[in-house]
């Protein structure tokens, strides 16, 4: 069997597994967020928090909950790192320096998991397990909560509230992320992933001498890191490390975990707005883009070799033998089209076009299928833009899911799609103008520019992957990517929740002969087109200077 065929079969197997999970998981999540019942453990948790989970919140109240919870998260994670030196179970690692601690705290609370540190050299058990892995859960649950709030805005039939943030947060953790992560972690251990709390210890080698390992709760962190589209590796090499991702099976399984919730949320959405076909149209958009990107990535990684890769006879630099080119391409596309950023191979050493495809995936706003929650609200914003464009063409007030898209709604959607490009392009431009920031580049020329463009694209879109040659552990990059992550996460959420509030106040309008049928393939085509054109126009100049220049030079 040729490696290309094996790659295609792995893609098909993945699609089959995702299809099997789609209906049960999507339906289950809709029940979780629609139910009026509380589990006993949830009641204990609400009592611990001191909130009433039955209070329905207006959008400002919901937003205040999101922001307060996240602010506390940044502060606590920052303190945990700053105090590492005096905490127990820290394996003797020092406290993290302020700029890096801020960067890492912002990174994990925003579901980005950009890492300017090497896990095995910097973080002990307490920070990894009770700090970083906790944010893997809760930042994912916050993302899903905000998406569900927006869906409730569409579904609300009268001046309505958006639900209760604390209930959505706790249910996301307790009923969705925790049970799946628990099973997934055990599957990973059974396949060879590490899971212990041993300290740093020496292990003998074949020709004598020893290597020093640090043990840790790797599998439990790996499971949630993929499932909640976080992506922060226990080790520096992330999911390329054999202790995180030991076999070809775990590799596919981890890609499955990355994609399963974001895809299934389209069904949750369909059920909650009362038409699963609306969910299918969104799903079809996501799948079209995802499969298209995988095909492009496989083409360039298998066939379009330049420079050193042509010399080597294959694009194996930064890739593991057990995964090979095909599976690594699927992983790279899946991690950058979601907000994950975990890597099983190193994007900086991909072909010029391959690195560009990873970049473009993030630039689309990570909506195909996107991060948990953030992918759904991101693509719904694009759907509003697409409906608006269609409305302009026929001169009719646009509607989506029975709600009118008026001036206020389109303003909120337009500001949403401007935030991340503004962050990416301004931060990249300023960095390129600073000699000290340029000094952080590992590679010369177009690729060096791509390293910085990739860093801010990754941070602002809350991805977390990197052209990792860039030395990002400087005050400039720690501070600027930290701010880009915070603004790139929470500003969009402000506009999403404002939009949700505005939609929830509207009476639904009846469907007429003039209504654009947003559950039909025509709309899927329109949406794919709108996404590609808007993002293409925004980023083309920057892409031309980086990956396109590199890919075309060969």
């Amino acid at each position: 069997m040729s490696p290309v065929l094996a790659g295609v079969l792995q893609l098909l197997a993945l699609m089959a597994a995702l299809s099997l999970a789609y209906v049960p998981l999507g339906t289950y999540m809709a029940k979780v967020y629609s139910s009026d019942r509380h589990l006993r453990i949830e009641k204990w948790i609400y009592r611990g928090i001191g909130v009433n989970p039955n209070v329905r919140m207006s959008w400002p109240a919901y937003l205040r909950g999101v922001l307060a919870f996240s602010a506390v998260g940044v502060l606590l994670l920052y303190l945990l790192q700053r105090l590492q030196g005096v905490l127990p179970l820290s394996l003797g690692f020092r406290s993290i320096e302020p700029a890096q601690a801020f960067n890492t705290a912002a990174s994990f609370v925003t579901n980005t998991n950009w890492q300017s540190y090497a896990g095995e050299q910097a973080m002990g058990h307490v920070v990894q397990t009770a700090g970083l892995a906790v944010q893997n859960f809760v930042s994912g649950a916050v993302g899903i909560a905000v998406a569900v709030a927006l869906v409730r805005g569409f579904a609300a039939t009268r001046a309505g509230a958006l639900g209760n943030f604390w209930a959505d947060l706790v249910r996301g953790v307790v009923r969705i992320l925790l049970p799946i992560a628990m099973i997934a972690a055990i599957v990973l251990v059974a396949a060879g992933a590490l899971q212990n709390f041993s300290g740093i210890h020496a292990v003998g080698q074949f020709l004598g001498g020893s290597q020093q390992w640090n043990g840790g709760a790797v599998a439990s962190q790996e499971a949630i890191k993929e499932l909640a589209t976080n992506g922060g590796g226990y080790f520096n090499a992330n999911s390329a490390h054999p202790f995180e991702n030991p076999t070809p099976f775990t590799n596919l399984f981890e890609i499955f975990l990355i994609l399963v919730i974001p895809f299934a949320l389209t069904r949750t959405f369909g059920i909650m707005v009362g038409s699963v076909r609306q969910g299918y149209a969104i799903l079809a958009t996501m799948v079209t883009i995802w499969v298209g990107f995988v095909a492009l990535m496989m083409w360039t990684e298998f066939a379009h070799h330049e420079g050193a890769l042509r010399l080597a006879g294959g694009a194996m630099e930064g890739k593991e033998v057990r995964f090979g080119v095909g599976a690594s391409s699927i992983f790279a596309v899946s991690t950058t089209l979601t907000s994950t950023g975990a890597v099983d191979s190193f994007h900086s050493s991909f072909t010029g076009f391959g690195g560009g495809i990873a970049l473009l995936g993030m630039m689309l706003g990570e909506i195909a299928p996107g991060g948990v929650g953030s992918g759904l609200y991101g693509i719904l914003i694009m759907a509003i833009i697409a409906v608006f464009i269609a409305g302009l063409m026929v001169g009719r007030t646009p509607e989506y899911l029975g709600k009118k898209i008026r001036t206020r709604e389109i303003k909120l959607a337009a500001v949403y799609i401007l935030i991340t490009p503004a962050l990416v392009l301004v931060c990249t431009a300023v960095s390129m103008a600073l000699p000290s920031a340029r000094h952080s580049m590992l590679n010369p020329g177009a690729h060096g520019f791509s390293e910085i463009l990739y860093a801010f694209t990754s941070a602002s879109n809350n991805n977390g992957s990197a052209f990792a040659g860039l030395n990002a552990n400087t005050d400039w990059f720690n501070t600027m990517t930290g701010l880009a992550m915070l603004f790139g996460r929470f500003l969009p959420m402000v506009f999403v929740l404002a939009l949700a509030g505005s939609l929830a106040e509207q009476q639904p309008v009846p469907v007429t002969a003039g209504t654009l049928r947003t559950e039909k393939p025509l709309f899927t085509g329109l949406l794919v087109g709108a996404i590609l054109i808007i993002v293409g126009l925004t980023y083309f100049p920057a892409l031309a200077l980086g990956p396109l220049a590199e890919g075309l030079a060969s």
């Binding site: 069997m1 490696p3 094996a6 079969l9 928090i49 909950g65 919870f69 506390v72 003797g92 690692f93 020092r94 090497a118 095995e120 050299q121 910097a122 009770a130 892995a133 906790v134 809760v138 604390w166 992560a181 628990m182 972690a185 251990v189 396949a191 899971q195 212990n196 709390f197 292990v203 074949f206 020709l207 290597q211 020093q212 043990g215 709760a217 949630i224 080790f235 090499a237 490390h241 054999p242 202790f243 030991p246 076999t247 070809p248 099976f249 420079g307 050193a308 890769l309 006879g313 630099e317 930064g318 593991e320 033998v321 057990r322 599976a327 890597v343 099983d344 050493s349 010029g352 990792a468």
Partner: protein, 220 residues
């Protein structure tokens, strides 16, 4: 004003309590339960898939290691011990060092771009070394036969595997150095070649540590 301050404080208090409670659930109970299950049912795997030979641990089946001659001069890169099968180059290992307290196994890739002189030079040097090291009287390695994994660094820098083709290239040299028939060593490589999982997942590969361990058994 006073009222809104009080409300903010109350909200932050709720946020803090929520985080502490969820930390208990996801940061303490969850990892401990997973660790408990892992240690009860898969202790070997949960502790790093160590492999032993003659009652001694010789490493992990998942972690690549080097098979070098003892270093003679301090700062010279050690030379490969050609008696043994060699793994992939590992130029990326140990970069981004921030903590030098331990001699830790640090993972990492080179992150070099395809169009850089540095990566071209690494590939060229590795290719020349593969030809030189593995060509023995009666068998010359053709540069066009060398697979990509033999001349590139992996993502983790700890890749435990090589492609079957790279293993086959090393067969003649290993046979000569160990005084074994070529067919015997070739058979050893065949026996240690793992196909794709279920026929389509990943790529065929040979675990270098397992291969060398079997080789040592053969020569002992």
């Amino acid at each position: 004003m006073n009222n809104s301050l009080r409300n903010t404080a109350r909200l932050l208090g709720a946020g803090l309590r929520a985080l502490l409670v969820l930390t208990l659930v996801t940061g303490v109970v969850y990892p401990l339960v997973v660790t408990g299950v892992a240690q009860a049912f898969f202790p070997g795997k949960a502790n790093g898939s160590r492999v032993g030979a003659d009652g001694k641990v010789v490493g992990s089946s998942l972690i690549g290691q080097s098979y070098d001659l003892p270093s003679t001069k301090g700062d010279q890169p050690p030379a490969p011990d050609l008696k043994w099968f060699q793994g992939r180059p590992a130029h990326g290992l140990g970069t981004n060092t921030v903590n030098t307290r331990y001699k830790l196994l640090v993972s990492g890739a080179t992150n070099l771009a395809a169009d850089t002189k540095a990566l071209r030079e690494q590939v060229e040097a590795a290719r020349a070394a593969v030809v030189e090291d593995n060509s023995v009287p009666g068998y010359t390695v053709e540069p066009s036969d060398i697979p990509a994994d033999a001349v590139t660094s992996s993502g983790s820098g700890l890749d435990p595997d090589i492609s079957p083709q790279y293993a086959r290239i090393q067969v003649h040299r290993v046979a000569v150095r160990n005084g074994l028939p070529v067919e015997r060593v070739a058979k050893l490589v065949e026996e240690h070649t793992q196909g794709r999982t279920l026929g389509f997942m990943g790529e065929p590969r040979v675990n270098v540590l397992a291969l060398n361990t079997a080789l040592r058994d053969l020569t002992a």
